[in-house]
């Protein structure tokens, strides 16, 4: 069985409280390197004790944003407020932030112990205090027996823990994690993700993590900011990002999704009942229960996640909306899920995922079968951006 679980996660959503004061505020931040704009007029609030992720492909500006908070880069325009105070011009060694580097950046000539003590020594703490804190940190990352080793005598996972311990030792107000788990294998990464969350909850710190791994961001974060080309596309909780992406970009970046381009045929909104949008796409009629700012005739995208699409060899009773017919082109067997790639009669391709709930080795639906794909009205989503 799994190791002991951490404390129960309480509901935490200061961003919904209009009276809450942000802990960190990026205010109209622009950062240019020569003619290249890495971050473009970006505004973002992060709250105390939040586990916040900056998610995006490489080159989207997420690392630049973090480095500006750490003080390694200064914004070209705009300002960064930490607890309401402008920290522009404050050098990195005077900022109450600590960073865990992607490469870990452990000092190769110092032992694990010395590495962890480094930051504390800069604060002129007493010897006793330092050794007590180092011990506490070693215990936290379960490396007590490795105190006297040099970094090159440790495995990748152990080095990662030393880097974490070193960045936590000073009890920073904000811990910055730059792709912290990138170098670990999948199993260890998942374990460490949960440990990170426990540590964050126990110490009550604010974590800002930069990652390109959407699964990692989904697992650990309270909120995620999805970035692209220096701007934030959406800031929301993992569930909102997944279930209600605000654009084609976010929908496509997070998880797997079917996107069908079409035109709005009609919209209705009735008081007390959810609104409904009807979309026409080359003979396929799609319906989504949603309030939508777009009007009839607008070009929009209809998006539905594969796991919400039902696949069946039998024709459904109602084929007027949210029902398409096609041939099974390919099947991806993932163990827990099977993904069916279906070529529709008009040549378009859709994916449907089915949980493998029974231990059948031969699936009832196989290559070349003619199937119907259907989904309920609350499964799809209309994307206007």
């Amino acid at each position: 069985m799994a190791k002991s679980l951490g404390p129960i996660k309480r509901k935490f959503s200061p961003w919904t409280d209009p009276a809450a004061v942000p802990f960190i505020r990026f205010e109209n931040i622009t950062k240019r390197f020569g003619t290249f704009t890495a971050v473009d007029n970006l505004t973002l609030d992060i709250y105390e004790r939040e586990f916040f992720s900056l998610l995006g492909p490489s080159g989207c500006g997420k690392t630049t944003l973090m480095r500006m908070l750490a003080g390694f880069d200064e914004p070209t325009e705009g300002r960064i407020l930490l607890q309401g105070k402008d920290i522009s011009g404050v050098p990195p060694y005077r900022r109450p932030t600590n960073m865990m580097f992607q490469s870990y950046a452990l000092f190769p000539h110092m032992t694990v112990e010395k590495n962890i003590a480094f930051g504390l020594e800069q604060d002129k703490l007493s010897k006793g205090e330092i050794s007590a804190r180092v011990e506490e940190m070693l215990k936290l990352v379960k490396l007590e027996t490795f105190a006297k080793r040099k970094p090159n005598q440790l495995s990748g996972g152990q080095r990662q823990r030393v880097a974490l311990a070193r960045s936590l030792a000073k009890r920073p107000k904000v811990l910055l994690l730059d792709e912290p788990l990138g170098a670990l294998d999948k199993k260890l990464r998942e374990e460490t993700q949960f440990e990170l969350m426990d540590i964050q909850t126990n110490l009550g710190l604010t974590f800002l993590i930069v990652t390109h791994d959407q699964e990692e961001a989904m697992t650990v974060s309270d909120r995620i900011a999805v970035m692209d080309k220096g701007v934030i596309m959406q800031v929301a909780t993992p569930a909102e990002i997944y279930e209600a992406p605000n654009s084609r970009y976010v929908a496509d970046f997070i998880g797997d999704i079917n996107i069908i381009e079409g035109t709005i045929a009609s919209t209705q909104s009735a008081l007390g009942a959810p609104g409904e949008v009807l979309i026409e796409s080359d003979g396929i009629r799609l319906a989504a229960e949603q309030e939508c700012p777009a009007v009839s005739g607008d070009k929009v995208a209809f998006a539905v996640r594969p796991e919400k699409v039902r696949i069946s060899p039998d024709q459904p009773a109602d084929t007027s909306v949210n029902a398409v017919h096609g041939e099974v082109w390919d099947i991806g067997y993932l163990g827990d899920f099977s993904v069916f790639i279906v070529k529709l009669d008009d040549g378009r391709v859709m994916r449907a995922a089915q949980a493998n709930v029974s231990r059948l080795v031969d699936r009832p639906i196989t290559f070349g079968d003619m199937v119907w794909l259907t989904w309920p009205r609350d499964a799809g989503l209309v994307l206007t951006r």
Partner: protein, 305 residues
Amino acid sequence: MAAVDEQVAPNSRSTSRWLVVFLPYLWLLLFFVAPFFIILKISFSDTAIALPPYVPVFEGIGAIGDFLSQLDFENYVFLTDDPLYVQAYLSSLRIAAFSTLFLLLIGYPMALAMARAPTSIRPTLVMMVILPFWTSFLIRVYAWIGILKPDGLLTLLLHAVGLMGPEDQVQIFRTDTAVFIGMVYSYLPFMVLPLYAALEKMDNTLLEAANDLGCPPWKAFWKITFPLSLPGVIAGSMICFIPITGEFVIPDLLGGADTLMIGKTLWTEFFGNRDWPLASAVAVILLVLLVVPIMIFQNQQKKVA
């Protein structure tokens, strides 16, 4: 067929590997170890007005007993008796130590600046450090005579900018100062290149990490950069210190009559006094003295590896 191949391949590979290792050692044996033993032997001999100018000369296997009985430590005893030699050794070590220190003080900032320079111009900077090698070492030392002599270029320059009266002349040529200038100038590339090699491969994020943990840049230099460049510091220092100790050309051309260095003493004994046995003893002692720093160097290299 396949089985035969598998057997042959490792054998031929190990033979060629053995050859690759053996050839340089054969070279060293022929051109370093053998001459050294000849010098060692001569150092135990006595001077003679003859050709070669020492006895006994090794004459066949049969004479071994007779040969060995004529060898003695007389030359080594003489070296300790005459304070000139001890002073020459000490003075050489002193000049080498100070030269190495100056080289470090000048070479380290240079190497650091090179390592921190934009990647695109680094090859050019390295090229510029190596550039002096394109001219003969001897010619470059002679050039310094032209600069440092009383009516030389330095005097002219100082006159021109008015820092020195027209009657005065720089009195550097034929002093220890001139020797130091020559040493530092000649050996600078040997100091800069190992330092640069050590500094260049350093990960810049280590300094960012130190900064991030509350360590200002100047302090991070002493806590991170310098300790990590120590292998380069030691390599550069050894590569300079060892040959400077035995240096002959620079003290001979730039130094004064009172500049005492063992290389000069060796030359005088060998060519001036034609006392080959004593000169050999001087050379053997010098080698022994320098084995110590070489061993420190080796030890350090092992630690790094």
